[in-house]
C-alpha cells in the first residue's frame, strides 16, 4: 500500500474522500486533517479532482439508430425458436425441397464410402508372405541329427524329438505342428525313408506348413 509523506496510505485518502471508511476510521482521519494543513491540502486536491471528474466528464449520448438496432435484435432474439423446431418448420413448409436436399446431402456423404467398393480381404499380417514348396528327402530325427553333428556321442533318442526332412544337398526342413505336419512331426516309423512333402513356407525359414506328403 502506497503511503504519502504524511504516513497516510493513499488508498485510505481515496476511501476517506468517498466516505468508504468505517465510522471510527473516518473520524480519526478527520481529526488528523483538522490539525495538519498540508494533509488537508492533499485531501482537498483529491476532493477537487473527484468533483471535477463528476461534474465535467462528458458522456456522449447514444446515437439515434442504436435504440432501433437493439430493439430489432430483441425481436430477432424472441423469434428464434429451438433448433429442432426450426428444422421441423422448414420440413413442414418445404417438404419436397427438404427431402431432395436431404437426399442430396446423404448422397454426398455416402457416395465416397460406396465408391471405394466393398472392403477387401486383407491378410491379418501383411508383412508375412507364404511360398509353396515341394521338397524331397529322407525323414530324420532333427534333434539326434543336431546332436550328432555336434559330435555328442551319448545320444539317446526320445519320442519327444522332432522329425524332419533332410534333402540330398543336406538342407533340413522342419514341420509346423499343424494339420498334416503334426502327423509327421513325432512319427519316427518313417525314419530313413524317402518322402515328398508339400506345403507352405512362411517368411524366410525352412519350416513347412505341410499340406500333403507321400512316400517315394
Amino acid at each position: 500500500m502506497q503511503t504519502n509523506k504524511f504516513s497516510i496510505p493513499q488508498e485510505k485518502l481515496a476511501a476517506y474522500v468517498d466516505r468508504e471508511l468505517l465510522e471510527d476510521e473516518q473520524e480519526s482521519l478527520s481529526q488528523k486533517f483538522e490539525h495538519d494543513k498540508s494533509l488537508r491540502e492533499m485531501l482537498e486536491v483529491q476532493q477537487s479532482i473527484k468533483v471535477r471528474v463528476k461534474d465535467n466528464v462528458q458522456l456522449e449520448k447514444a446515437p439515434v439508430h442504436l435504440r432501433a438496432r437493439i430493439r430489432r435484435k430483441l425481436v430477432e432474439l424472441e423469434n428464434i425458436p429451438g433448433f429442432v423446431a426450426q428444422i421441423t418448420e422448414i420440413f413442414r413448409m418445404h417438404t419436397t425441397k427438404s427431402l431432395m436436399a436431404t437426399a442430396f446431402l446423404l448422397t454426398i456423404i455416402i457416395y465416397p464410402w460406396f465408391s471405394k467398393g466393398l472392403p477387401q480381404h486383407v491378410p491379418s499380417n501383411p508383412g508375412i508372405t507364404a511360398t509353396y514348396q515341394v521338397v524331397q528327402g529322407k525323414i530324420i530325427c532333427i534333434d539326434c541329427e543336431q546332436l550328432h553333428s555336434a559330435h555328442i556321442k551319448a545320444i539317446k533318442h526320445s519320442n519327444l524329438h522332432r522329425a524332419g526332412l533332410k534333402t540330398a544337398n543336406g538342407d533340413i526342413w522342419e514341420f509346423l505342428d499343424y494339420a498334416k505336419g503334426s502327423e509327421l512331426l513325432h512319427d519316427f516309423s518313417r525314419a530313413n525313408k524317402t518322402y515328398q512333402v508339400e506345403g507352405y513356407v512362411f517368411s524366410n525359414n525352412q519350416i513347412l506348413n505341410v499340406t500333403s506328403y507321400q512316400k517315394l
Binding site: 493513499q10 488508498e11 476511501a15 468508504e20 498540508s38 486536491v45 471528474v53 466528464v57 442504436l66 435504440r67
Partner: protein
C-alpha cells in the same frame, strides 16, 4: 423478476421501459471504456441482449442500474481480456504514463501541486483528456466511482475484483489524473515551469 405466465410481449415491453432509460449513460460509459464508437455500440447491444436474456432473474425492487452496469462491465472485461490475448494489442496494465522531464516550481502566486484552485481553473476538455489517458483498469473504476457514484462494494462485484483492488486502482487513478492535470495547468500557464 417472476413473470409467471405473463407473455413474452409483456416482458419485452417491461424490459424496454426499464432498461432503455439507461441507454445514454450506458453508451457514454461504453464509449469511455472502449474509446471506439463502433465497439461501444456493440458493447451496449451485447449488454442489452444479455440483460434481456436474464431479465427473469432480475429481482424487482432491486437496483436495475447496478444490475445492468454489472453486465456492461463484465461484458467489457471479457471482451477486453480476449483482445489483450491477441498479438499487437496493447497491454494496458503495462502502459506507464510518460511525464514530462520538466520540474514545476512555485509561481509567484504560490500555486502548488496541492492547490485545489489549480485544478478548478482547467477546462472541461482537459479533464476528459486526462481521463481518456488513464489505463483501462484505472479509467473503469474512476468512471464507476466518480462519474456514476457506485460504491466500492458494487464496483468490486461489477469487475469481479477485491475491494482492496478497487481502493488501490481508484487511488492510483486519481493520482495519475492529478499528475496529468498538473501538467495541463503548466501548459496553460497557470504555473511557471523550468527545464531540469
Amino acid at each position: 423478476m417472476n413473470w409467471g405466465k405473463k407473455n413474452q410481449l409483456e416482458m419485452k415491453r417491461q424490459f424496454e421501459n426499464i432498461a432503455f432509460q439507461y441507454m445514454d449513460v450506458l453508451y457514454g460509459t461504453a464509449l469511455k471504456m472502449t474509446k471506439d464508437p463502433i465497439e461501444a455500440e456493440d458493447l451496449v447491444q451485447d449488454t442489452y441482449l444479455k440483460a434481456y436474456r436474464f431479465f427473469d432473474k432480475f429481482e424487482e425492487g432491486t437496483n436495475f442500474k447496478a444490475w445492468i452496469f454489472k453486465i456492461l462491465t463484465n461484458t467489457f472485461i471479457n471482451k477486453y481480456r480476449k483482445k489483450s490475448k491477441q498479438p499487437n494489442q496493447v497491454d494496458f496494465e503495462k502502459v506507464e504514463f510518460q511525464y514530462s522531464e520538466e520540474t514545476v516550481e512555485k509561481s509567484p502566486d504560490n500555486i502548488r501541486k496541492t492547490d485545489k484552485n489549480l485544478y478548478e481553473k482547467l477546462f472541461d476538455d482537459k479533464i476528459n483528456n486526462a481521463l481518456d489517458r488513464l489505463s483501462t483498469e484505472f479509467r473503469l473504476v474512476v468512471l464507476l466511482c466518480d462519474v456514476h457514484g457506485f460504491a466500492y462494494k458494487e464496483i468490486a462485484e461489477f469487475a469481479d475484483i477485491p475491494i482492496g483492488t478497487v481502493m488501490s486502482r481508484l487511488s492510483r487513478g486519481r493520482k495519475h489524473l492529478q499528475e496529468m492535470l498538473f501538467e495541463y495547468a503548466a501548459e496553460e500557464g497557470y504555473i511557471k515551469r523550468q527545464k531540469k
